[in-house]
């Protein structure tokens, strides 16, 4: 981009601020997307531990058919907060806030997101919302599950209102992040980086951002209505006052089905970066993958009522929602085939990141298949409300999203910290996790088929054997996650120095030092092509100074 002679000063790309000094401005109220990304990571991992402990309370209770570990009411509180925290405080913030923030601007060749201050504010809403959510235990936590259907949620204790407020706040944070990312991706790409030259992780964020923006705002409406009804008696959902409990279900699922794509699309993007890097092959079907993300995001708004087949939905509404749900599985299938084709005949390096990526493809595919069972009305009538649904969404969310987070973490940790993760611990983490995961969730398929209902504190003794298998396996899974955290701590102190590009990857973030400088790039590069052609030279110009002692850009004067 030549600067015409009449132009005074530079544009945003030439505008570099001096790096703030002092701990607070640097690490607490930072406006640097990389620091904010890491703040999201740490906070998200803390909530992962807390929500994981709640999961172990659930599994310990279910060791015995007649429970006995916690009271029935506590059990209800525990699974409600477990689900809410995993969705809103772990998976969504990690997918968008953490990886989106750290990686996306670097891959775009930008110096930061479009609105760095807004980014900081969005981040700080998140831990506050998290504390609010967990504080609801002190005032009687919600007991109607993460979906909080009325009328039960209308009868819950004060903590249910706190739940509304907490989810509202974290939702605003996610909406603002969505807007910030949209503008960043649409407006701040390096010169020459057309939309069809963007890395697939950026495409995934571009497909996710509008979901965060639109769907989350609709959820805010539903939460506000529930809050008003609980606190001020304004009738929306209470059938005795003319309200409708089904209205909540519509509003909630209008958000929450798109939200499942907020939780999985970024992982699709990560996998699409990791597989080609470690198979040393171009990604197969770049355009199909990019395009299918967008299709999934749009079509995701038209299938919400597949969660409501047993809720008294008119039969003429069931058929279109069933068919549309089948249709939306097609772009998902396309991705899976693209990934398999990418691996086909590749020279695969089985690093920890790659293992998690491959594990993702397999386990996510299984969850997608059970999704089809649930999407067909006749089978769903039998399976709805059983452990089969629990199996489905843990395959897509743990086998999918969480494995994606692990894969992404092993992949980008060297860039964030400048050090390598320990591969031996990484492989232990992977194999124990996969074993524990399948032991925990695979039996839920047949338990569900046999009719074991979800969200119960005690159950029929005929299900006891498999429940014990599940509980023991879940301890293995937790142990694996513990190894992961040990690995992080050990690697941060003693990990090998990573250098700029340990994986010989080709996207922009790997062409600069690890960790990157405050200003990301000494000169904003120009992009000439896709990053995935491993046999070609890199498609960038202007990066020659990055790894030399060439001077850093001069901070701009006051504007």
């Amino acid at each position: 981009m030549a600067v015409a002679a009449t132009h005074v000063g530079g544009g945003i790309a030439d505008h570099v601020h001096p790096e703030p000094q002092g701990f607070i401005r640097r690490y607490v109220f930072s406006i640097d997307h990389k620091i904010i990304g890491i703040q999201y990571l740490i906070t998200g991992f803390i909530f992962l531990v807390l929500a994981g402990l709640l999961a172990e309370v659930i599994r310990t209770q279910l060791m015995n058919a007649n429970g006995g570990f916690v009271s029935n009411n506590t059990y209800n509180e525990v699974y409600s907060i477990h689900g809410s925290a995993m969705v809103w405080l772990v998976v969504i913030p990690l997918m968008t806030g953490a990886f989106g923030n750290f990686v996306m601007p670097l891959q775009l060749g930008a110096r930061d997101v479009a609105f760095p201050w807004l980014n900081m504010i969005s981040f700080w809403m998140f831990p506050v919302a998290g504390l609010m959510l967990f504080s609801s235990f002190l005032m009687g936590a919600p007991v109607a599950g993460w979906t909080e259907y009325p009328p039960m949620s209308l009868q819950g204790e004060a903590g249910t209102s706190m739940w509304c407020a907490a989810i509202f706040l974290v939702g605003i944070s996610s909406t603002l992040t969505g807007m910030n990312f949209m503008v960043t991706i649409l407006k701040m790409r390096a010169p020459g980086m057309t939309l069809t030259r963007m890395p697939l992780f950026v495409w995934a964020q571009l497909a996710t951002a509008p979901l965060s923006m639109v769907a989350t705002t609709a959820l805010a409406g539903a939460l506000a209505a529930l809050f008003m009804e609980r606190q001020f008696g304004v009738p929306f959902f209470d059938p005795t006052k003319g309200g409708s409990p089904l209205l909540w279900q519509h509003m909630f699922w209008f958000y929450s089905h798109p939200a499942v794509y907020i939780m999985i699309l970024p992982a699709f993007g990560m996998i699409s970066e990791i597989l080609p890097t470690f198979a040393r092959k171009p990604i197969f079907g770049y355009k199909m993958i990019a395009f299918s993300s967008v299709t999934i995001a749009l079509a995701g708004f038209m299938v919400w009522a597949h969660h409501m087949f047993t809720s008294g939905l008119a039969p003429f509404m069931q058929l279109p929602f069933m068919l549309l749900t089948f249709v939306i599985a097609v772009p998902t299938g396309i991705k899976i085939f693209s990934w398999i084709t990418t691996l086909w005949g590749g020279k695969i390096h089985f690093t920890s990141a790659m293992l998690f990526a491959i594990g993702f493809v397999v386990l996510f595919a299984l969850g997608g298949i059970t999704g089809i069972f649930l999407a067909s009305v006749p089978t769903d009538l039998h399976l709805h409300g059983t452990y089969f649904v629990v199996a489905h969404f843990h395959y897509v969310l743990v086998g999918g999203s969480l494995m994606g987070i692990f894969a992404g973490f092993y992949y980008w940790f060297p860039k964030m910290s400048g050090r390598m993760m320990n591969e031996t611990l990484g492989k232990w983490h992977f194999w124990l996790f996969v074993a524990g995961f399948n032991g925990t969730f695979l039996p839920m398929h047949w338990l569900g088929f046999e009719g074991m209902p979800r969200r119960v504190a005690v159950y029929d003794p005929q299900f006891q054997f498999w429940n014990r298998v599940e509980s023991v396996s879940s301890y293995v899974m937790t142990f694996a996650i513990l190894l992961f955290f040990v690995n992080i701590l050990v690697s941060l102190r003693r990990g090998k120095k990573a250098g700029p590009n340990p994986w010989k990857a080709r996207t922009l973030e790997w062409q600069i030092p690890s960790p990157p400088h405050y200003y990301n790039f000494k000169h904003v590069p120009t992009v000439y092509g896709l990053p995935y052609d491993f046999s070609e030279p890199l498609p960038y110009r202007g990066l020659d100074d990055e790894l030399t002692d060439a001077p850093a850009p001069v901070p701009a004067g006051a504007h």
């Binding site: 005074v8 530079g10 945003i12 407006k187 790409r189 010169p191 923006m213 639109v214 705002t217 309200g243």
Partner: protein
């Protein structure tokens, strides 16, 4: 980033060129602001959906025992709000042409009309409450949807009035120039947005 071609009227800018940093950040802020308005539309849509859903799940509307809304009064009040949309539009135009006094006058007119609209709404609420005995929480889904949606809109008008007042003070203190007036553009967009939402609310509460 398409920033290369810029309108010529900027040529008389102080240093004889264009402040690219300003142009680019304005572009970002404008896009971000439009997305913000879009999300706000979604928030209204959620409640509008709730209203239509509840309305259609009952037999009659308004529900038995609820008086009809005063359409004529609300129509006059709407005219006030739409009038403020027009004054705001011309305020921005005058700013662009450098007519500061006309700009300020029209902006003040907008603020006054906005306050008048809120006054009308306050009158309507009091009337409904004291005469027709219709309240937010005590009148079933009618009170819930009517007061929530029009109240949300009224809140947006109130925020707009504060915003426009800040704009007025800022422009008196020379915060904006003939070339750099993004705040005024944003205020205008916001005010039009509030107008358009009212068109929808008026139609669904008073006309159907």
């Amino acid at each position: 980033m398409a920033v290369a071609s810029l309108p010529h009227q900027h040529a008389e800018h102080a240093e004889g060129g264009v402040d690219r940093f300003y142009e680019e950040t304005r572009d970002l802020r404008l896009t971000g602001f439009l997305f913000f308005l879009f999300s706000d539309v979604v928030l209204f849509s959620a409640f509008i959906f709730a209203y239509l859903y509840l309305r259609n799940s009952g037999q009659s509307w308004p529900p038995p025992g609820i008086a009809r809304l005063d359409v004529a009064f609300a129509a006059w009040n709407s005219v006030v709000l739409f009038g403020s949309g027009a004054t705001m539009h011309y305020a921005l135009e005058n700013w662009k042409h450098g007519n500061f006094n006309k700009y300020a006058g029209l902006l003040i007119a907008t603020i006054v009309l906005g306050i008048a609209f809120l006054g009308g709404q306050a009158y309507e609420y009091t009337h409904l409450y004291f005469v027709d005995k219709i309240s937010w929480a005590g009148s079933g889904i009618f009170g819930a949807s009517f007061f929530t949606l029009t109240g949300m809109h009224g809140f947006h008008v109130a925020v707009g009035i504060v915003y426009l007042t800040v704009l007025l003070l800022q422009s008196i203190h020379g915060v904006y120039t003939k070339d750099k007036y993004f705040g005024i553009t944003a205020g205008t967009l916001y005010w039009h947005f509030v107008d358009i939402i009212w068109v929808v609310l008026f139609s669904i509460f008073y006309l159907i």
